[in-house]
């Protein structure tokens, strides 16, 4: 009993003393704004807090929102959502060895994912090794998906329902950067575990790369033993823009099991282009991404599952006021607009020769207030026009979303 009392008292004292850490000791590591950062740096280009000389830095972000959306007169009413709570832990293990992890709680605790947990070893600016759970560098959004960086409550449809953001896998690879006057060149190349056959066998009833994430074993074992290769090259002119081209290629089916051949190897290939720029003088920010997906679907399977898909988005953000608002010295008001298009099934019906539709276009105007660079309050109006694969009259969804996203 005496021991138990001592232990309890000790625990209370320890907890209290931790709770009483002087907040001034927490040092804020600011986001790099030198202009030399590329999209690939997004994973480290986040605000972190570190405590004194401890080699560990902490961070995270949260996103919550209200929305009222209706589809052809039917609405779910007022919805309050806690979309994400993400925690980062970074540590410098040695001078040129660092570790970063990102754990995300989506929709409350409905999904808990390790989105990133990798060790980086810097050998040379052009040769760095990354190993662990990495975010495959396909397009731009996948690596640069933090809610507070975006002016819209929803993530782009093409990034989450065409490409599978956030798409993380276990693997390793190399990356590097080269600086030449106003130019920055970069590359990334990784081998990781890859997709599985859920991409053409899922409850969406369409070729759907995000369905691969339903395989709970994917961080433990490769579905078919063939690595997924992802490569990206990017170039940035410090005064003009950044352009990226990325490619991902792998085998998605279990072509053999227990030494027995079951099918031929079936490939999934993804090509993506991305770019971002800030228009001089106007300070208009433009961010765009477009992807093409090619899947080897068996001829004898249903045409619901497409061999080709494409889609993308463009975000245009215009700052319209900078200054003090409600006491926040560096406030910014932005007006924004996102345009989206996704075609989940590019092809023609064998039976009629007619076009297979299964596409969506959307427009999302919005206004946002950034009381600081790390926090955004945003109000969007969303309008989506979705057409089924037969090309019947569209399902129209529209409504307002209002939310907050902030790093902490």
């Amino acid at each position: 009993m005496k021991k138990l009392l001592l232990l309890t008292t000790g625990l209370i004292i320890t907890t209290t003393s931790i709770g009483q850490i002087d907040a001034t000791l927490l040092r804020k590591r600011h986001v790099d704004t030198t202009g030399t950062m590329l999209n690939m740096d997004a994973v480290y280009n986040r605000p972190f807090l570190s405590l004194g000389k401890l080699p560990v830095a902490l961070g995270g972000y949260a996103e919550a929102n209200w929305q009222h959306l209706g589809t052809d007169g039917i609405t779910e009413g007022h919805q309050f959502q806690m979309r994400r709570l993400t925690l980062f832990v970074a540590s410098s293990i040695a001078k040129r060895i660092k570790f970063l992890s990102e754990i995300e709680f989506e929709d409350g605790t409905k999904e808990i994912n390790i989105e990133f947990a990798a060790v980086d070893v810097e050998l040379h600016p052009l040769l760095n090794v990354r190993s662990g759970i990495i975010m495959n560098p396909i397009g731009a959004f996948n690596q640069n998906h933090d809610g507070p960086k975006w002016e819209f409550v929803d993530r782009p449809v093409s990034a989450t329902q065409l490409l599978p953001a956030t798409w993380s896998n276990v693997g390793f690879g190399l990356y590097g950067k080269l600086f030449k006057k106003n130019w920055v060149f970069a590359y990334e190349a990784y081998l990781t575990n890859g997709f599985n056959d859920r991409i053409i066998d899922n409850r969406e009833g369409k070729t759907f790369l995000p369905a691969a994430k339903k395989n709970r074993d994917r961080f433990e074992e490769s579905f078919n033993g063939v690595p997924l290769a992802t490569v990206k090259a990017a170039v940035r002119h410090l005064k003009i823009a950044e352009l990226g081209v990325s490619y991902m290629s792998g085998i998605y089916n279990k072509f053999e099991d227990d030494g027995l051949q079951l099918d031929k190897k079936r490939a999934v290939n993804v090509l993506a282009l991305d770019g971002n720029m800030v228009v001089p003088e106007l300070h208009t920010s433009i961010n765009a991404e477009w992807a093409w997906i090619f899947v080897d679907v068996p001829e004898t399977y249903t045409q619901q599952y497409a061999k080709t898909q494409y889609g993308g988005f463009i975000d245009i953000i215009q700052p319209c006021h900078r200054g003090k608002i409600f006491g926040f010295e560096n406030s910014t008001i932005n007006i924004a607009c996102r345009l989206e298009y996704v075609d989940w099934n590019v092809g023609k019906f064998r039976e009629t020769g007619g076009n297979i539709a299964d596409h969506l276009w959307g427009i999302m105007p919005g206004i946002s207030w950034r009381p600081s660079a790390q926090t955004v309050l945003r109000l969007n109006y969303k309008y989506y026009n979705k057409i089924d694969m037969l090309g019947n009259p569209p399902a129209r969804t529209a409504g307002f979303q209002c939310g907050i996203a902030t790093y902490f």
Binding site: H68, G70, D197, Y301, T302, A357, Y381, L390, C402
Partner: protein, 396 residues
């Protein structure tokens, strides 16, 4: 500061008018889905469960799809509960007379023309005749189900006693062991009147639904327990409860609501429809008898069918049949909802049993057999009269 407060107030007031900036519901007559009026709260809840199972449940390998199949969900064949598209047209083969299907050993009666990866789909045996069936609309099926056998037989005229050239016979079918007879069913040497399907070979909506799960999606139930790939009895892949919810959903889908009923062109077309004898088979009005669903009991409705088989001539004789129907006989398809076919068929018409007719006129001109006289009367109409008749049909 004041300026920002004003802006903030304006910005925040916009979402308060959110309903006004959301897409409005289409008018009732513009769509085929939705329940019949007069359902109780419990019935509406069951309708919703059936709606979800019918339209949202997409089968995968994990949930039992195939391995041989035609489609992955009910909704993919009946978009918006309307007529289907040639993409999901069914192929049936192997039966040429009422003696039964000769190719059950070879995968009959239905071709599963798709297969999950690493499997091969079926092919039609060289010696088998076949027919293609475009998925029909689902609407108003509960009303058709509740018509009494006596009323159907009252419309039959097997020997053409009235000499109008139109006979009309019932398709007498053997019942599956899981079928419960509906009230007032008429027994004809152990066979009963079928009324659903292109040949009228399905007795009721449970047979139609359990058969579709099994033959269209490769989903086994306790009703249809045999796997279409192995032929073996396997564990159910869909619950009886889900099947019953879907049956209830199909029974309680509303009847299509006609449009422009007071338009002079439509009214004139309606007159021509009767005048040239279209209504002899596409009977304008039927009545339901007592139904376990009160909203369907003793209702008068306008399906434009007599639920009987008619000789449609050589051009529509594919050499395949079901039940006691001859290969050239087809059950009169209900014409209600015809004008809305395009909104479920991708903007085009695919009419007649196999979708071969690309317009209403083409469908009329392909009528033969008992309908030849009426077809010729249609041909003799003036261009304006033809247009009025078609305008009427499109209003259904």
């Amino acid at each position: 500061m004041k300026r920002f407060l004003h802006v903030l107030l304006i910005v925040l007031s916009v979402p308060l008018s959110c309903k006004k900036l959301e897409p409005a519901a289409p008018e009732d007559h513009e769509t085929l889905d939705g329940p019949v009026e007069g359902l109780s709260d419990e019935q509406r809840a069951m309708f919703l469960k059936g709606d979800i199972a019918f339209n949202n449940d997409v089968f995968t390998k994990e949930t039992g799809l195939g391995p041989l199949f035609v489609s992955t969900s009910c909704g993919s064949c009946h978009a918006g509960d309307g007529k289907g598209h040639p993409f999901t047209t069914l192929t049936r083969f192997g039966q040429i007379n009422e003696q039964g299907n000769l190719f059950l050993h070879a995968g009959g009666p239905q071709l599963q023309n798709r297969a999950i990866p690493s499997h091969q789909p079926e092919t039609i045996p060289a010696a088998a005749t076949f027919s293609k069936f475009t998925p029909p609309a689902n609407t108003g099926l509960g009303f058709l189900d509740a018509v009494s056998d006596a009323d159907i037989l009252a419309m039959a005229d097997p020997n053409d006693a009235d000499g109008d050239g139109i006979s009309g016979v019932a398709n007498w079918v053997s019942l599956k062991n899981y079928i419960t007879l509906r009230e007032g069913s008429i027994d004809n040497t152990g066979k009963y009147i079928g009324r659903f399907g292109k040949k009228g070979a399905a007795y009721n909506l449970l047979q139609q639904t359990a058969g579709a799960y099994n033959q269209d999606m490769g989903i086994v139930s306790t009703y249809e327990p045999y796997d279409t790939f192995s032929g073996e009895e396997i564990d159910p892949e869909v619950s009886n409860q889900t099947v019953q919810h879907v049956v209830f959903y199909l029974k309680t889908l509303k009847a299509p609501v006609p449009r422009n009923i007071n338009d002079p062109g439509v009214l004139a077309g309606k007159g021509l429809f009767t005048q040239i004898n279209c209504s002899k088979c596409h009977v304008t009005e039927l009545k339901t008898s007592r139904s376990s669903i009160a909203a369907l009991s003793y209702q008068t409705f306008a399906p434009y069918t007599d639920l009987l088989l008619h000789d449609m001539g050589n051009a529509l004789d594919d050499g395949y049949t079901e039940g006691s129907a001859k290969t050239y006989e087809w059950r009169t398809p209900p014409l209600w909802g015809l004008g809305l076919a395009k909104i479920s068929q991708g903007g085009s018409y695919y009419l007649l049993h196999d979708g071969r007719a690309r317009s209403i006129e083409e469908a009329i001109l392909l009528h033969g057999g008992e309908a030849a006289y009426t077809r010729d009367k249609y041909k003799a109409l003036s261009k304006e009269e033809k247009q009025k008749l078609i305008t009427f049909l499109e209003s259904l």
